[in-house]
Amino acid sequence: MLRDGQNGFADALRIGPDALPAELFSGPPQRNLLAMAAHANTISHGRLVAMEDIFPTYRGIVGDAQFNARSRRYVEQGFGLYGGLDAIGDVFPDWLADDGEATDLIAIARFDLAYLTAYHCADTPVLTMALLPSDSAELLKTMLSRHPAASIHPANSALLTAIGHPDWAGAAAVLMARTDMSVTYSPAPPLVALAWDRLAHPLTFAALCAMFSQDHDDSTIVPAIIALIASGALQKG
């Protein structure tokens, strides 16, 4: 009985008052419909506000009207409803792709999700320049790996404008990192972006340099790796 009642209640929230089991509630039907509408409004409002909170950059670019229409359709099609509100937007970028959204804008929705991941990530120490050994032999043995808060995003004009750096037009990508409590952004030229790509698995400084040695010399490789470290995108240890 309890399960049937809750399933009927849920159907009425999803479908509307026609799905409300007639015998479930006492009191005048008009009052019960009013109450169900209030519950449905609370639920819808909670979901849509969560979507707004998760995707501020994407929303800022496409505008409130388009964002609200899209996020409402996403929720009404049943996406993102099976975790808590903090997970409601997890598949929104994929849904946007299926919905025909422009590639640049899908990347910005992914950027918004990455921001939250970075902001709430476990407090893992960052590899800073000060932690690098001064001895070159020791430096080459230093293990490099991605910090769990860090991510990389294709640089397009909409994203660069949204994060306040239209002047980074020459960057191939934007590196996102978190140092202490703040999420930070750095421009990533092509070689820095490639170094990030190669660090899908941890490597020593020397091994990373060796991966580029056929096409680049040390005078370009080492500064690229140093720039990657300086961005806060790698972890200590």
Binding site: Q6, F25, G83, G84, D86
Partner: protein, 293 residues
């Protein structure tokens, strides 16, 4: 019922406020001789992530104030049982941040895996009671402590109810050893919406079961079918709520009391003014019964 610590935990018998991000810094920067809450309450779901600024702020606040964990996501009344993912995340947070009290609601928010961000009502039947008892037992076992269960604000009453809400909560406490988080505003909201007698409800509550009180405001809509009260936690505490609170405390003695505001968050000073009003009622009562404040 298992042998677990007291439902009142370590919350002081004084007034607290809900912790909001805009108040992190003002709370921690206040001089120790200024007006301060005696404890704070959080929605733990806001701190379930692994790290970052919000967790760091909470850690700093918890070094200074006792923290009550008022969960909104366990879905204790769900026919499917409580949300085990939420329970594990709550347990993990409590391993990092000491909780002076733990509570959730007499409601459900999940069925067949779908999550509804609202506190939905349950019928007051023997079947619901058994389900709630099993859920509260499971949560208390996992957390290793007693919890409080909050009376809901109701807009709907079920045709099949076989007991009233106070009877339901009292039986739940007797069967599981949990306590009641008595939200006086919710009683008033239910009185407006489903016609219960608020004073009779409060008179029927056994004060020994109450580990915490919530005071809040609500929104009121006028409809052809009569007023509809919405428990939006977005306004100042009503005179009606204060009056009921004073009468209940006069009968019950001091009980940790929260000023609850989740929308239209005012300045900290405004919240603290309401907290001090509640605290004056609590400390006056403590003097009456010979307890040092």
């Amino acid at each position: 019922m298992t042998d677990l610590p007291s439902p009142t935990g370590t919350l002081p018998w004084r007034a607290g406020v809900g912790l909001k991000p805009q108040h992190y810094a003002p709370l921690l920067e206040q001089p120790s001789d200024s007006v301060r809450p005696f404890w704070v309450e959080i929605h733990p779901q806001n701190y379930f992530r692994d790290g970052g600024a919000s967790r760091q702020w909470l850690s700093r606040v918890a070094d200074v104030f006792p923290v009550s964990f008022h969960s909104t996501g366990l879905s204790l009344g769900s026919a499917d049982g409580p949300d085990l993912d939420q329970l594990e995340r709550l347990a993990r947070l409590m391993a990092d941040i000491p909780a002076a009290s733990v509570s959730d609601h007499l409601s459900w928010s999940r069925t067949s895996g779908e999550y509804f961000p609202d506190l939905l009502p349950i019928p007051y039947t023997r079947e619901s009671l058994e389900r709630m008892c099993a859920s509260v037992d499971l949560v208390q076992q996992r957390l290793g402590r007693r919890m409080l269960v909050e009376n809901p604000s109701r807009m709907l009453a079920f045709r099949g109810d076989s007991m009233d809400e106070v009877d339901f909560l009292t039986r739940l406490c007797a069967a599981t050893g949990c306590g009641i988080l008595l939200d006086i505003n919710n009683v008033i909201v239910s009185a407006i919406n489903v016609g219960i007698d608020a004073q009779a409800y409060l008179d029927a509550v056994d004060p020994a079961l109450v580990g915490e009180i919530h005071l809040a405001g609500h929104n009121r809509e006028e409809h052809d079918s009569g007023p509809l009260a919405i428990d939006d936690h977005g306004s100042a505490i009503s005179k009606d709520c204060w009056d009921h609170y004073e009468r209940f405390i006069a009968r019950a003695g001091p009980i940790p009391t929260l000023i609850e505001r989740d929308n239209n968050i005012p300045d900290l000073d405004e919240l603290l003014a309401e907290a001090m009003r509640a605290d004056n009622i609590l400390t006056a009562c403590q003097k009456d019964v010979g307890i040092a404040a």
